[in-house]
C-alpha cells in the first residue's frame, strides 16, 4: 500500500470517527426522540393548544396564566458536516428540517406539560419563537432554541369529548 495514502488515512481518521459516531448515535437518538414525542402528543391530545387570541364564547373561563416551554437542540457532527457542504451549493438542507420539527414539537409538549401541572384545560394565543445560540467563539452555531408560549385557561366546564382522544 502507498505509505502516503496510509499517512493521509491516519491523519483523517479522527474526523472519520466523529462522522461515523455522529451518523450512528445521532440517527438513533433522533429516532428515539421522535417516538417519544409521538407518545406524549397522544397523551396530551385532550389539552388543546390553539392560536386564537380569544377563547370561544362557550368556554367558561375560571382563571388563566402564562405557560411556556423551550428546548435547545443541535445537529450531530455528521449532519452539520453535510449541511455545511449543502450550504455551498444552496437548496433544501434536509439535515435541519427534522431538527427544527422535533425541537418545536418538544417545546409545545413542554408548554402543555406545564399547563397540565398548573391545572389548565386549554392553551390559547400560542406563539412560537426561534433563536440561534452562538458558541463562545461565535463562529459556529451551538444550537437553536425553539420556544412555545401561550395563555393557559382553567375552564369551568371541561372540554370533554370535543376532541378525539385516540386514533390519528
Amino acid at each position: 500500500m502507498n505509505p502516503e495514502l496510509v499517512e493521509l488515512a491516519i491523519q483523517f481518521s479522527p474526523v472519520a470517527f466523529l462522522l461515523v459516531l455522529g451518523l450512528v448515535a445521532g440517527t438513533i437518538l433522533e429516532r428515539r426522540h421522535f417516538a417519544d414525542i409521538r407518545v406524549r402528543e397522544t397523551r396530551f391530545r385532550s389539552l388543546p393548544a390553539v392560536t386564537f387570541s380569544k377563547p370561544p364564547a362557550d368556554w367558561a373561563v375560571d382563571g388563566c396564566g402564562l405557560v411556556a416551554g423551550s428546548v435547545v437542540v443541535s445537529l450531530d457532527y455528521f449532519k452539520r458536516f453535510a449541511a455545511a457542504l449543502r450550504i455551498i451549493f444552496g437548496g433544501r438542507i434536509k439535515a435541519f428540517e427534522p431538527l427544527m420539527d422535533r425541537g418545536r414539537r418538544e417545546a409545545i409538549l413542554r408548554m402543555k406539560q406545564e399547563a397540565a401541572e398548573t391545572g389548565y384545560d386549554a392553551i390559547i394565543n400560542v406563539r412560537l419563537e426561534t433563536s440561534r445560540i452562538a458558541n463562545a467563539n461565535g463562529s459556529t452555531t451551538a444550537g437553536v432554541e425553539l420556544m412555545a408560549y401561550g395563555t393557559g385557561l382553567k375552564l369551568r366546564n371541561p372540554l370533554g369529548n370535543a376532541l378525539p382522544t385516540e386514533g390519528a
Binding site: L29, V73, D76, I124, N137, T151, L153
Partner: protein
Amino acid sequence: MSEFGEKFTISNTENIPGRQVTEFYGIVTGSTVRAKHIGKDILAGLKNLVGGELKGYTELLGEARQEALRRMIAEAESMGANAVVNVRFSTSSIAQGAAELFAYGTAVRVE
C-alpha cells in the same frame, strides 16, 4: 409560571379572559443578559457531536427567562398593577456567547 401566585396574573392575550380590565398603567419590561458557563460550553460541545437536546443551555435560557419575567412583574407591582397582559418575549445575541432575554407587556388592573 405558577410561582407568581394567584393574586398576580400574566397572560399573552390582550385581555384577561373572563375578567374586566379597569385601569392601564403602560408598558413594563424586564431583561437579563446571560453568558454561558465555560464548563457547560465544553459539555455542550461534546453533546454537539451526537446532536439532540443541549440540556445545559435549555436550563440556562429557562432560568434567564424566569428572571426577566420576575423583573417585569416587580415593575408592574411597583405601579400598583395586579396583572400584565400581552406579554412578549424576545431573545437576542448581543455579544459572542452572551444573550439578552427580554420580556415585556402592558401592566393593568383587573377586577
